[in-house]
Amino acid sequence: MGHGSSHGHPHDHPHEHPRSEAALDQGDLAAVVDMAIPDAELSPGQVSRRQMFRRAGLLGAGLTAAGVLGTPAAASAATPRHTGGGREPRGGYLWLAGDHHIHTQHSSDGMYKVSDQVGHGAAYGLDWMVITDHGSVAHAKIGVEKVNPDIVAARRDHKETLVFQGLEWNIPGAEHGTVFVAPGRNEVSTLKEFENGYDGSVKNAGASTPQNEALAIAGLNFLADSVRRRRVDGALFLANHPSRKGLDSPHEIRGWRDAQPGIAVGMEGAPGHQAAGIPRPAGPGSGRGFYDSTPGADSWPGYPPESYKTFGGFDWMTSTVGGLWDSLLAEGKGWWITANSDAHAIHADTTVRGGGDFNADGRYDDPAYGGTLNVNAGDFWPGFYSRTHVGARSFDYLAVMEAIRQGRVWVDHGGLISALVVRARQSGTGQLGVSLGDTLHVRKGAKVEVSIEITLAGVPNWAQVVPALARVDVIQGDVTGPVTDPDAFTTPSTKVVSSYEVGKNSGTVTFTYKVGAVDRPVYVRLRGTDGKRSAPGLLGAAVDPHGPAIDVYGDADPWNDLWFYSNPIWIVPRG
């Protein structure tokens, strides 16, 4: 596939990560600024960073890890350093494609072996994968341990692919989410304790109540504590298919993110199950992403009916310009998007689930050959259609986690583009600038530009055609700080500010978007499309003239409606 493949030296000793400088950088800023934690409990690197903040007079002056407006020093501390060695193929980072939402025979509704999923994902070009079987009583009791040897074996057999162990958390009071930890000797015990203590299914805490919402926060606090105590080297939480059933209210999303901004960092911008909308008889003929729900008792009542549908394969929270995602970004909150397979059963595969007693064994037997194509299955193999590209400093587990945590992430469907390098910089200074997820600090009134370099597809995707990028949209909004209503899900100033026509499918295209003189904090994000299905955005053509159209139930061919989205870059003037 088109992503860079120079991984350096894939190492085969994931259990022995020293706490290097890089690990500290991705580590817990919250611990550094949390004065409840004495200096003695910090690592030397963390003490050094705390002293830097102390000298700058920032500690106790409202420095938190909560948002770009509050963390100029933190943001600059996170500015990429150059590691040298020539392993910087795209704007200073290794862009590693991955998928954090994958099921196996250890899920009650799954069927494949870990090695099936990892083997296919690796073949389809993924550099990292997270195995996320559903949280459940059987999984918590048996599955977490049983899957681990399979994952360890996959790490050994596929050294070109980083394989994390995670789980799909039934978030108390809300939807599902990916939770995963850095590999290490405590990965199983940490996940197991987390699932037994905080899974909404295990704890019978699914209903939308204040108590259950508090249990979700407690779960995130447990993960943060596990990192702080060095039980695991890292933990991340990402909300999956956030709009599917209206269960993730805006205040819950804000609550997760505000409670643990180093753990709860984002959501699936696009759900998996992208084959679900393929028309019958070739496909399931359902809603794309299996987004075929309507409100239930636990749904947040404020969500409009269209929020339950996908638009260009993307979740309403992401696809609506000026919508929920933008309302978080306008607060200055780093809340990043990803795209995944949610692979349970693969469209047009020939295998069937093995037998066995899931509840007794915590897994099904290995799948068997079924002899016919399963066209009712709605999923693609990991890497086959949806990809999450992260800009990592190196090819290792902690670097992938750091890239996700920093929002150095863009996503695509169907191999629409091969590479994306975005840099915001002060115009005319020759600066390299900052990348996705990062913050550019400039003097008030300084002119800023965003350079966009896109490597077009050039090679066929897994539908055996070379996609053609038709248009790239620049979306910009003001960063206006915290909202008074934690359930806000729109923001008024965000809109499409510039569009570039492309219309070819090989080579490289570059654009420069002139932000102009910056007198207030803003953010800029990108979106691109093959241009096959567009409609005015939900908040009007003045906000988004050519946005993704609502997907047609039973007739949504995912290969004929391709989009990519980037996470934002923040631009914050001083003074």
Partner: protein
């Protein structure tokens, strides 16, 4: 008159069963309007309350054990459930909320029908399409899947639809949504 009823049920399916059972037990006619409502009362979990039109208030024997009811200013049963029943009855009476399970003509909404035909055959007063401004053309086909659940909206009975294959529409609520953690085919 409108009767609100709340048994604390958590799912639409259970609430619909409750309504069908009640209509049968009370011998109510084709013109009954029966709705489900999402309510949040007291310390309990969010749940589904019901409302329906009745010619006169049924006696306690005709109602499910432990249910809360509300009609006008009258309330019976546990306080939380009576409050849920009242919220349902008020939303129904004012046409501000509620999802209609039974309504005049609902039995005639089967197969594929034009937008105008749906409104002619039933109490549905307007058909709208998600993410589209402007109402659909009167002859636009709607694949009902024999499952039509309009909503009260600003005093009108409105059917939300979404685009379906071949330029047709279908109700935005499908009869068989994919459950969580269920087989995905």
């Amino acid at each position: 008159m409108i009767l609100g009823l709340d048994t604390g049920t958590r799912t639409l399916t259970e609430a619909e069963h409750l309504l069908h059972d009640l209509v049968k037990a009370l011998g109510l006619g084709e013109d009954t309007v029966a709705c489900t409502h999402f309510v949040r009362t007291g310390d309990g979990p969010p749940h589904v309350a019901c409302s329906l039109t009745v010619p006169h208030l049924p006696g306690p024997a005709a109602l499910p054990d432990g249910a809360g009811t509300a009609s006008g200013a009258g309330r019976t049963g546990p306080e939380d459930l009576a409050e849920g029943a009242a919220l349902a009855a008020i939303a129904h009476a004012t046409g501000t909320g509620g999802r209609l399970v039974l309504f005049p003509g609902h039995g005639a909404l089967t197969g594929t029908l034009g937008v105008a035909e749906i409104m002619a055959r039933s109490g549905i007063e307007r058909v709208v399409v998600l993410a589209h401004t402007g109402d659909p053309a009167p002859d636009t086909p709607v694949v009902t899947r024999d499952f039509v659940r309009p909503q009260w909206c600003d005093g009108k009975i409105v059917l939300l639809t979404m685009p379906a294959a071949d330029g047709r529409l279908m109700p935005a609520e499908v009869p068989d949504p994919t459950p969580c953690c269920a087989d995905h085919g």
